[in-house]
Symmetry: C2
């Protein structure tokens, strides 16, 4: 039997009082009031109820090393990135790599792998696999149902996955950007209970009125917490956290923001403790008998500086430093493709000029535009038009089929060289953008040689961040990954791009479920028509 | 597809607005805002999260007839009274009798049948039976764990029942009067999540601090809502509702009281809709897509007059009248005992006077006292002492063993005759209190002849309320049952008793889990020592 004492923020009664918390074998056995004054405050450990670990470019154990000192004791992670690459094996990797660190990594069974049938992914997660996964206690929900057209059209495979979750009485996470009216009703009626994609107050309010639990998002790719703070919600989540942002914090930072945006501090704490604990039936999230002894000491609610972190009754971090060893698990190469030649990126043309569709990228947005331009033929092929910032873009299939699809993109601003990445949502083929074919081939081949990662090639100078775990994650520490990423970003800026996060922006150009013009390894894709379109306009 | 329109009280957003609610096959398909003004208010149907239907002396279908017009659309009932008489067969009777009426009768698997080993019950519910029961979707929790000593001492049978509920992920209801400190911690740690037995503010607050969900009780036997309103809680429940009280209302009446006692009206509505719906995983309790179309129209939040009741999309009550037929199911006689003779109630004595222990009854309390008095021997037996209000009390075993145990009681005030009842918690043997053996035998034999119920015999005039369903319930309407009960109460008053509810008071004298002196068919029982004590003091 162990005991700790301090000022407890009791989230059931919203009181603060001196308390003694006893625990045994990691489980709280008693909490009693004591007459004494203490410094600081004891809170339940924080829970990020929706995150994709892969977005941190860290393995689960490295992610734990980064976030546990910030007070995160549990996360609910949807492993759909690695699942697209490696299927159930990838999900098992996440479980195994997390098993050696104290962070509690709960998972959701990814519902949409692959996200569409118009691309080549490394794996398909079937309904049978979903059923098998959901039997595991670590698998706390069916992952975000991004395929809302499938729900609305009652696609049998989608329905069978929803049914599997309902049968085993696990919640179903949603993903329903801008869905409204009768369509939203139908989506909710299917049993989907959460949403983290609201961006507008009215949108959030409509979902809340229909009983959805809102996840207010304060992540690296999308920030809606400020806009939606006054609507309120049940959870605060990150969805995605990039390595450089993790240096500033995780849930602690989200909490500080929430309070700054006007959410009642105790309400905010509940959104990252009690509420996710209850919703996902986790044995954590409140400091009461029978729950896991997952708790943190902070200095005060204003600064929210995390001093000590206890998971299952063990001190696991102190003054910002983890007290546990991290040995990330490596995995064999997942890339099955031959090195590429410059000619793989040719866009042959019959005419001496052609009118082509161009993907238009906007800073800080996942939504793209489409416009037309006229390009000239050089040696039989259409070339980039650097003067007008029309660059070449290609998706190189990496799972053994050797597909390469080529198109054009505006908004990256490169004047030299090329960039490439094996982080390319959701199928994670290799995506590349460049000023010329030779550098594109070099950048892709650098990624290939590194067994995954990001690369920039300019004037025969190579920059790279290696992500050898499924092409998505590094086994290095967050500090190393973020400093390498910074070097890469600087290099790309020197190559002419003004985008804040050029690799992140590029990674979403292959995500066929966000409008308007996108590209997969199979071709140029019009999300609104939900079908391929020709590159060359007739 | 059907539609209704009106002012919706949206309990998710705490707004009131004009809405159109669509439903199909009893399930809500859409809820949309409309621009129009309506009279009255639409609320989710009410849920009583903890009640023993048997306390109403009505079968489930007759109970439904009484409460549905008051807006009750679901109840969570613990059938432990009938389970003590008939075991699983009795529970199945409750399900079957309820199946013909629209009221949704969810049940909990009774955890404590019999309540102690010091009495003869009609049945024992084993862990195996609990497991079997909990598989049923209608069985939403393990019923109130009254055996808190068993929890504290880790009694293997008690532990196995708790484990069965945890394994199937159903909640466990508690019952922990005055439990505090380390004992309360241990009780909570076992996984028990609710309590409806708090009577004191401090007691309730301590439980709340430990994360228990409080059921504020506003029933016929116990009223704690007023005292605990300021502590707050998750549910408002009745626990027991007697037939005469049901004439005034059910959850609607509890809500009116809650608001009068200062609970925020919308919070109060949540306590009888959303909260129990969520806690017990019921598909009701909120008017959102996917939930059952269980809703009520009221005039306003001040008067809370229920105008219309809709269950599964069907209008089932209007202006206080049910719109459904009720055909209660009858069951065969459950009494296995021979008619009793006056000599069965003899208390033989060696001395000409003896000092005996007497059960002391207090108006309006379930707790009894113990005191000693000297009684005279007449014809070899100790007799009642009417001058000092020392009456005879006996428990007559009804399950085929023919036990009769005799003792003395003070507080009933009878000057003539005797009363008897087959409602005698929790084993429901026949209990009788009288001024003389002859009338006690007549009263018991009247109950026996009626196959159950209450009886009063005075000067060879007989009054009776027949409860032929397991000796606990009538197949008649609430109006008939309560008027017969009124006649009985008047008769008992004429016989000299000043107790408000003499039969109710008597029924708890056989409940061996509430201090201090009680009586079972096996003898006089000291609850504090938790063992039998001799009637005659040496």
């Amino acid at each position: 039997m162990e005991k700790i004492q301090g000022n407890l923020l009791n989230i059931s009664t919203e009181e603060i009082y001196g308390a003694e918390i006893s625990f045994h074998n990691g489980i709280i056995t008693c909490v009693k009031k004591v007459e004494a004054n203490y410094n600081g405050l004891i809170l339940p450990g924080f829970i990020d109820a929706h995150i994709h670990i892969e977005s941190s470019m860290l393995t689960p154990s490295r992610f734990a090393e980064a976030v546990v000192p910030h007070g995160t004791t549990s996360i609910v992670s949807d492993p759909h990135e690695i699942a697209n690459v490696m299927g159930v094996k990838g999900i098992k990797y996440m479980v195994n790599d997390a098993s050696s660190v104290p962070l509690k990594v709960f998972l959701t069974a990814p519902s949409c792998v692959p996200s569409t049938k118009y691309e080549t992914s490394g794996s398909v997660i079937s309904t049978e696999e979903i059923k098998m996964l959901l039997k595991d206690d670590k698998m706390v929900a069916l992952g975000e149902m991004m395929n809302f057209p499938g729900v609305l059209n009652e696609d049998p495979v989608v329905m069978s996955k929803l049914e599997a979750a309902k049968r085993i009485k696990k919640p179903i996470d949603g993903h329903s950007p801008l869905l409204t009216g009768a369509n939203l009703c139908k989506y909710v009626m299917s049993g989907i209970s959460t949403d983290h994609e609201s961006t507008l107050e009215n949108e959030a309010l409509e979902k809340k009125r229909l009983g959805m639990k809102l996840m207010l998002r304060d992540g690296s790719s999308a920030n809606n917490l400020k806009d939606l703070a006054m609507v309120g919600g049940d959870f605060i989540v990150s969805d995605d956290k990039h390595p450089e942002d993790l240096l500033n914090g995780h849930v602690d930072e989200m909490l500080r923001n929430a309070i700054e945006y006007g959410i009642d501090p105790i309400e905010a704490v509940k959104m990252v403790t009690l509420n996710p604990g209850n919703h996902y039936n986790l044995n954590t999230g409140n400091l009461v008998p029978g729950k896991a002894a997952d708790m943190i000491f902070i200095n005060n609610m204003e600064e929210l500086k995390v001093k000590k972190v206890i998971i299952d009754g063990c001190l696991v971090a102190k003054n910002g430093r983890p007290l546990f060893d991290v040995k990330p698990i490596e995995i064999p190469n997942t890339f099955k493709l031959k090195p590429k030649n410059p000619s793989d990126f040719n866009v042959p043309s019959k005419g001496s000029t052609e009118t082509v569709r161009v993907i238009e990228v906007f800073e800080g947005q996942l939504i793209t535009g489409e416009f037309s331009t006229v390009l000239n033929r050089v040696d039989g092929n259409l070339e980039a038009d650097l003067g007008n910032d029309i660059l070449k873009i290609a998706v190189v299939e990496r799972y053994g089929h050797e597909n390469v699809s080529n198109a054009f993109v505006k908004g990256f601003g490169l004047k030299y060289g090329a960039i490439a990445s094996s982080v390319a949502h959701d199928s994670h083929n290799i995506i590349t953008i460049g000023t010329n074919n030779r550098d594109m081939a070099k950048a892709v081949n650098t990624v290939l040689r590194n067994e995954g990662g990001l690369a920039a090639v300019s004037n025969d100078v190579f920059y790279a961040l290696e992500l050898p775990v499924a092409g998505l994650m590094s086994t290095e520490r967050v500090s190393k990954v973020s400093s390498e990423l910074k070097i890469l970003h600087n290099a790309v800026r020197d190559m002419g791009s003004n985008l804040k996060s050029p690799f992140m922006s590029m990674s979403f150009l292959a995500l066929l479920v966000i409008p308007k013009l996108k590209i997969s390894d199979k071709g140029l894709f019009d999300v609104e028509k939900f079908n391929f379109v020709d590159l060359i306009k007739n």
